[in-house]
Symmetry: D2
Subunit: 301 residues, 4 copies
């Protein structure tokens, strides 16, 4: 089903140059689009806190296959029993809520802002755009909820019918909020319902429904600071050489991605509160040198 509205391969080939944020905040910048979160924007976000209602956007992390987990040998110390846990995870992937560091993906051997991948990532971790770069600033800004799934007849985005910029615009209109630079968008594509309906779907192996590659244009045009999404990007992307799909926002735009969020509680809360904007905060674990980190994003009303 070729969509005339979708960009050609030629158009996509120009994305890296046209959408590029390298140098926009200086040659030594490692924050990327988080620079768009100004004090004014944070003040706007803070003023959205009315009732203090706090909504978790994190998924439950369950043992195996998602992560290795062991409750350790209990130890008896006088009158008490103490027990610990050891857990072990690869958080990148399709289960655990986490923030991607900008060093997670390189393009043509270069990380965001033009540093060499091979020179800056090693077995000891990353020395350019590791997750440490955002420890101080964090991701605290206005959040806007875009419910794509609600307008799909299946209740979720399907394979072969990716989310387009036009669809994001429609969701913005339905949300009744005008997006601006520095916002984080929380996109609900209906991942939970999709997985329930397709129990044989295997992440990475099966085709992924999700956002179309051209959403990169929309990210750049809206100048969002971050995206927090449940289903992430369409794969394969349908464009030769662009298989990483909208994850290319990392090296092209320096965009903060908050992967594998659970927007279901938020959908309910937005409906009940009667608004689609809120105070948003996502603070990754302070894993020094890491290519990302698990996080527990919150929406506060």
């Amino acid at each position: 089903m070729p969509d005339l509205a979708l960009p050609t391969q030629d158009r996509v080939e120009r994305y890296f140059k046209e959408l590029n944020n390298w140098g926009r905040w200086g040659n030594d910048d490692q924050l990327g689009t988080l620079n768009l979160i100004t004090q004014a924007k944070q003040l706007q976000a803070q003023q959205l806190i009315k009732t203090g209602r706090t909504v978790s956007l994190a998924r439950d992390v369950i043992p195996r296959p998602v992560y290795m987990y062991h409750t350790t040998f209990p130890s008896k110390r006088e009158r008490v029993d103490v027990v610990l846990d050891r857990f072990d995870m690869v958080y990148h992937g399709f289960w655990i809520t986490h923030v991607d560091a900008l060093c997670h993906v390189a393009w043509d051997g270069e990380l965001y802002n033009g540093r060499g991948f091979a020179e800056h990532v090693s077995t000891d971790g990353a020395t350019w755009c590791s997750i440490d770069a955002i420890f101080t600033k964090g991701i605290t800004t206005r959040g806007v909820f875009l419910d794509i799934a609600a307008a799909r007849k299946e209740g979720y985005v399907t394979v072969g019918h990716p989310v387009t910029p036009k669809e994001l615009d429609e969701a913005e209109r339905r949300a009744g909020v005008k997006l601006g630079p520095g916002d984080v968008v929380v996109v609900r594509s209906g991942d939970e319902a999709f997985r329930k309906a397709h129990s044989d779907w295997v992440p990475r192996v099966s085709p992924h429904p999700g956002l179309h590659l051209s959403c990169l244009e929309w990210f750049r045009a809206k100048d969002i600071a971050a995206i927090a999404w449940d289903m992430m990007d369409e794969r394969p992307s349908g464009y030769h050489g662009f298989g990483m799909s909208t994850h290319l926002a990392i090296p092209f735009l320096g965009l903060a991605l908050i992967d594998n969020v659970d927007p279901e509680r938020l959908a309910k809360a937005c409906a009940e509160e009667g608004r689609h904007e809120f105070f948003f905060t996502a603070t990754p674990l302070r894993l020094v040198g890491a290519t990302g980190a698990p996080a527990h994003p919150l929406a506060i009303f």
Copy 2:
């Protein structure tokens, strides 16, 4: 240096009965003192947000010896390089900022609210008072900063001179805040300075400076919802059979402990903001069945 003000062994033996919160919120309660965080308390907390200034109370997590960490094999996918991390940690202990679940410590074979340790904790995790119990409510309330270290001449609490209830009261007075039920206290005992000054100090092996066992009385009297602390409790406690020291607040009171926080940035922020109270939130990773979870506590002004 026997302190006449300190309780006798006999007195301490009565703690379990006298301070006990079992059944206070019903026989099936797994939340413990988090029940003290009422809607009114949360509203009070929310009204403390004025500027949106957000302060991280989490420590940096560094590879080895704190946790095993690997940047995994980079993979080349068309024009991109992608690299992941695997990390592996035992977060209980003396390095990583985390929330203790109430199943972490049992007394005389019983967990908070009288469930058997052996029956409810196994290699598969916990089925009573695991960290899941607080996923929905979280720990979002008013935070009050008590700076014990500031009044110590060494700049930190020393071995053999534990923090007493009286000292906590003085810190409360200095903070200019009246504590009430449902607050979280952030206690700074000066752990960072202590460790710098004692580079040969080994957690668990060397004696620990920290809060005296009798602070259990204070926790109960103030009816705090949680304590977030940098140095934690004095060990050995000096009382036979009570070696777990103030960690006994877990089985006795059902108190939420947020261990290994970093209060240094908060001390600075409180001084600059001119107040010692703030909106506090600590949301642990949603590790199903675990005896606790890493968390990133935040103070928002």
Copy 3:
């Protein structure tokens, strides 16, 4: 199908006392049946080496789900690329070839030779009958191959039809070897064929075919030093309180179990060499304090 030849529950209840080897080699012994490997026995074993043909009895260890495995980040050092592995396993279970230490299973709270389980096993490992106990002696003796599967019409032992002592005797007769104290028996129950035929079989969850509990009598009567087996014991055992089945040979007899061997190559070699006895050696990894260790058992002709 009640087998009149099978022992009653009453008979089995007496096993612990009747078959018991505690104290047989002194109160401080941690070797158990490996004491039966005398110098004379080892000489007999050594004389079985005629051609030097060496047969591996170990299974392939494959990544996931069997063990966590990572090829680590490659590092470039001048003109070379170097890459390492990290691997991570729980070797007990039903996949990895390993030797059980005698501390692996306790009976009524006591390990082999009457030491308390709780006192001698902790998060730091074992201080009684850990695998270290056999580092010096190893398991080097005469091996005798008993092919149970060859006489079963399905080609493997089936659920509900466990291997009995009588069947072991018949296999010994077919092997043309007279067993004696200090031998290791390599038992082929046809695990590989069984798993292929039952792809939905789940270890620990599904019923296990294997050796009947009464084989404990046979182990003791023959005074074998060790058993190396592919399918291990029948579970459930059909006897109340004896669910660990023939694994009770560990606490009762102090018998060395070599679990999850692959006898398929050996079956072929025995047929080609025209004999069922050989030099046998199984040397576990020297994991200090462990409850067992991966091993690579060999048969040499």
Copy 4:
């Protein structure tokens, strides 16, 4: 102390070409020097077994810092207690006895026999010269013990005085054995005594004593099948671009390296048995796709 007998940089630059074994056993060979272990050689080895005395050449593997190790949560099943271990190791390095696969080190981007490193090693393991290649053949051959340390006045090889081919020749003479193609040499450089005498020595960080780079010539000239060594190679090597030192035997010669052996028990056994040759076997764990594997090498007299 420049040694006139040591090769120049120019000489060393020619090593790759002159010592090269690529294609020697066909273009598809993945066994390397293990091809030199002929049936005749194995028969010779087998005839060296006289008493059956078996000597372990493996080091003890101790928890932390060498490997992560956990005794898992004990489980109570009826009348038994069962406990497992989980262990987790990076066996390459300077502690754990292991066999290197030929894919462990590449030269100018190519593995032994001219396959590309990048094409054949990934996060899933290796597809050329992984350790699987030697599962069938193993390393079973004649072992010859060369005691370098015994002739050093310090009792071990020192930093700055590497082992030379001449010194290996002298040790061979002292051993009273004439080396031939297909032998494995067990080299004792005195690592245990060296580490005891230098408690502040840090592997990888401090300079390593060991075999001089020119021993590559000796390996090739003697046509040994494998080397089993305690101290390994001198680092830095003193030659630009050749920092991997004698480990370059892997890509150049396809030589099997058995790293981190413990030759102390063997030294004693050789003295007592009055001979320096024996049956040698080293069978790595069957870790499919791995870049090496832990092993327990044995000498049998």
